[in-house]
Amino acid sequence: MDRNQSHRQLAAMKQSLFDQGYLDEQFIQLEELQDDANPHFAEEIVTLYFRDSSRFISNLDQAMERNPLDFGKLDSIMHQFKGSSSSIGAQKVKAECTLFREYCAAENAEGCMRSFQQLKKEYAVLRKKLETYFQLAK
């Protein structure tokens, strides 16, 4: 029962993550890659992602403090961050990255700032949600 319950909860949660646009089909692919040999693949990848991308965040933090902003560099970091995020299916984060890069291209410091703040928020939210999700999945 508990199992069923948690399964259902899990499914529901997953569904909501998709519905709300936090995740996209890439995440499904990750889960499909799970098998007996690799039962927790999705979780591993997600963990790796959050660990690795924290350096993007800190790099961006640093870069954003410069004045004037080095848009080229920001764009470059963000490009990588975006690639990484898309690999796990972090849809909202990815969208925010794209927006940020647009601001960079336009050399809009203000826009970059805002976008970055938003990005960090999305990132944090996703992290929490996925943590919960994987907890449930255990």
């Binding site: 890439q26 692919q29 898309s86």
Partner: protein
């Protein structure tokens, strides 16, 4: 997943077990990619550093069937890696990026990528990537043309699948030929699909080794027909080589064209460098006559050089990549580079022997000229002035103990060089460039061995830039060329002639072989290397294909008074570069590049011998030449190094 470590035995199950090397600095992406690939039942090796990847590939070319690489990497630009791999190992490379910008995709394709995937990568896409391996194999000429049949690991291993595929599809081949450049895998894939897994490698398509000699012929044919009108069938007829199929020629032509294109791009950039180098190493530049050197393969003769090397060289401007700056053949160039292709005929014979060593390359180059008719350096910028290579002896570097790359370059160079200079390799004593105009191949394979090898690399890069061919020359020489080459080459922009980015070729078409010859003779002694090289550039501007002209400006002129009188006047100095026809040749560009003082350092060999000469040459600009050369060298080095460090890819 079935993992087959060694592809020695025919894999009846291809694409299962296909060995993929995945490179991506982002660990998340890399892990996802790896898992997806494993899911497709490939054998996967991963690394997050491009440099490591290169090392692994160089260790053993046969270890992998396919490479997938991210574009954006911190230690090396993905495009650069792409070029290098294509040049050195001739493996299919797939680019990966989160950025699907058309321009980037275009860049990837023009650098030789088989495909360009967007992140996030989906498994469906990965399931089809094996077709690139098949396709490439199919393109390999069925027969090996004289020269060595390099072991094609890929062919061997995947032959099974391929052979069946290959066998079944002659028209597939044709199609492939046609589509090679395009990215369309799908079609081919379809057809091959059926054939795979059937025969256990019934036919191993021997890869045609594009020896220097062969390449020369090829270039000559192409030049004769005119780069625009050159069609495989006609080229094949003109070349009149047995066992060479139309497909072989077609694919070689394709690569050559790509190479030319790249050279012209590079040449522009490097124009300065070349100019700098050009002066010094005009000879190198000469090599630029890449025209067609695309496949410097001819080096095959050297045996050492893997054909791949040659192949890759042409295209990729890898020459630039050839980090081995001096060694690359550029060194060789001055001496050998100048191959005086004009002489090629004679040289060829002699060089033929030497070719075995890096020089061979030169002879090839010389040969190239020969085609042209000796004087006509045209086909091969081979300015390899192999003759001058004296110091090169190392020229053999082409043979390159150097990394695989070297070999390639070397071969390229040798090929180029070998021609006119055929003898050049061995010691510059070669007859003056005989008008080596032969396209810069001068790459003097001599790169003293490792140097040379390296040199080639540089050369290659250079060459690729310029004339693809020309590069090889560079290596040998003391590796100096290498660096210079690319620059030199680039500057000239002359695809064909440009070789010599490094100094060697400066030869830039000394108004035609004649000048070179004169130069060569004179310089021969003094310059020993350079001289011959100089004129060798053969780039004889005459050849339309020669892109040398591209070099132009760079001022080989400035460097080398060579014009017309090549060298005779100032050049004799040894400035082979003088030949560099900067005068004519746009090589100047090279020479200009040579300007770099660093060049002097030797990047190129060209510089060295020339240095002395340069001073002599000062008549015109000697000083400048040296500077050029050194500049070129330096640039090249930088260039080369840069590549690795993610600098400009080309």
């Amino acid at each position: 997943m079935t993992v087959e470590t060694r592809a020695d035995e025919p894999r009846g199950q291809f694409p299962v077990g296909m060995r993929v090397l995945a490179v991506d600095d982002d660990p998340t992406c890399l892990l996802v990619l790896e898992t997806l690939l494993r899911r497709c039942q490939y054998h996967v090796t991963t690394t997050n550093q491009a440099i490591t990847a290169l090392k692994m590939l160089r260790e053993n070319k046969n270890k992998f069937d396919l490479v997938i690489s991210d574009v954006h990497m911190p230690d090396m630009d993905g495009f650069k890696l792409l070029e290098l791999v294509g040049l050195e190992m001739d493996l299919p490379v797939i680019m990966l990026s989160a950025n699907g910008d058309t321009k980037l995709v275009m860049k990837g394709i023009s650098h030789g990528a088989c495909d360009y995937l967007l992140k996030p990568v989906r498994i469906e896409e990965l399931k089809n990537i094996w077709q690139h391996v098949i396709r490439r194999k199919k393109f390999d000429p069925k027969e090996k043309n004289s020269t060595c049949n390099q072991d094609k690991p890929q062919s061997g291993t995947t032959n099974n699948g391929l052979s069946s595929a290959g066998a079944g599809s002659t028209d597939l081949n044709a199609k492939l030929n046609k589509k090679r450049k395009d990215q369309d895998d799908e079609d081919d894939d379809e057809q091959e699909h059926g054939h795979d897994n059937d025969d256990p490698s019934t036919q191993k398509k021997p890869r045609v080794v594009w020896s220097v000699e062969l390449h020369r012929k090829f270039v000559a044919a192409v030049n004769q027909l005119g780069i625009d009108k050159a069609v495989p069938k006609k080229i094949l007829d003109l070349m009149n080589v047995e066992k060479l199929s139309r497909e072989n020629v077609a694919s070689h032509l394709q690569k050559y064209r790509l190479y030319l294109k790249r050279i012209s791009c590079v040449a522009n950039q490097q124009a300065n460098m070349v100019a700098a180098l050009g002066s010094a190493d005009a000879s190198y530049l000469r090599v630029g006559s890449l025209g067609g050197m695309k496949h410097l393969q001819p080096l095959g003769a050297s045996g050492q050089f893997q054909n791949n090397v040659y192949r890759s060289l042409p295209y990729s401007g890898m020459i630039g990549r050839l980090n081995t700056p001096a060694g690359l053949g550029v060194h060789g160039l001055p001496s050998s580079g100048i191959l005086q292709l004009g002489h090629a005929q004679n040289l060829n014979n002699s060089s033929g022997n030497s070719m075995n060593d890096p020089l061979k390359f030169r002879s090839s180059i010389a040969h190239v000229n020969q085609n042209q008719n000796g004087g006509s350096l045209q086909g091969m910028p081979v300015s390899v002035g192999l003759d001058h290579l004296q110091p090169n002896k190392a020229v053999s570097s082409v043979q390159g103990p150097t990394t695989g790359f070297d070999d390639k370059t070397m071969s390229l160079i040798s090929n180029k060089l070998s021609d006119p200079r055929a003898g050049v390799g061995s010691s510059c004593s070669r007859p003056p460039l005989m008008g080596i105009a032969s396209n810069g191949l001068l790459l003097e394979p001599n790169s003293q061995g490792s140097q040379g090898g390296r040199g080639y690399e540089n050369l290659t890069s250079v060459a690729s830039q310029h004339s693809e061919f020309s590069l090889p020359l560079m290596d040998n020489h003391n590796g100096r060329c290498n660096d210079n080459w690319p620059s030199a080459v680039q500057s000239s922009g002359m695809p064909t002639n440009s070789y010599p980015t490094r100094d060697c070729l400066h030869g830039g078409n000394p108004s035609g072989a004649s000048s070179i010859t004169s130069l060569s003779t004179q310089s021969h002694d003094s310059l020993a290397d350079m001289q011959s090289h100089g004129p060798i550039f053969t780039n004889n501007n005459t050849t339309p294909n020669l892109a040398y002209q591209g070099w132009d400006d760079h001022s080989l002129d400035s460097l080398i008074p060579v014009n017309g009188g090549l060298g005779a006047s100032g050049l004799h100095r040894n400035l082979d570069y003088s030949f560099g026809n900067p005068l004519e040749m746009k090589h100047e560009g090279f020479i200009k590049s040579a300007q770099d003082p660093s060049l002097k350092s030797n990047q190129g060999y060209i510089m060295d011998p020339h240095k002395a000469q340069r001073s002599r040459i000062s008549s015109n600009n000697l000083g400048s030449l040296e500077d050029l050369v050194s500049a070129m060298m330096k640039q090249e080095q930088d260039f080369i190094c840069d590549d690795f460090t993610g600098g400009t890819s080309m």
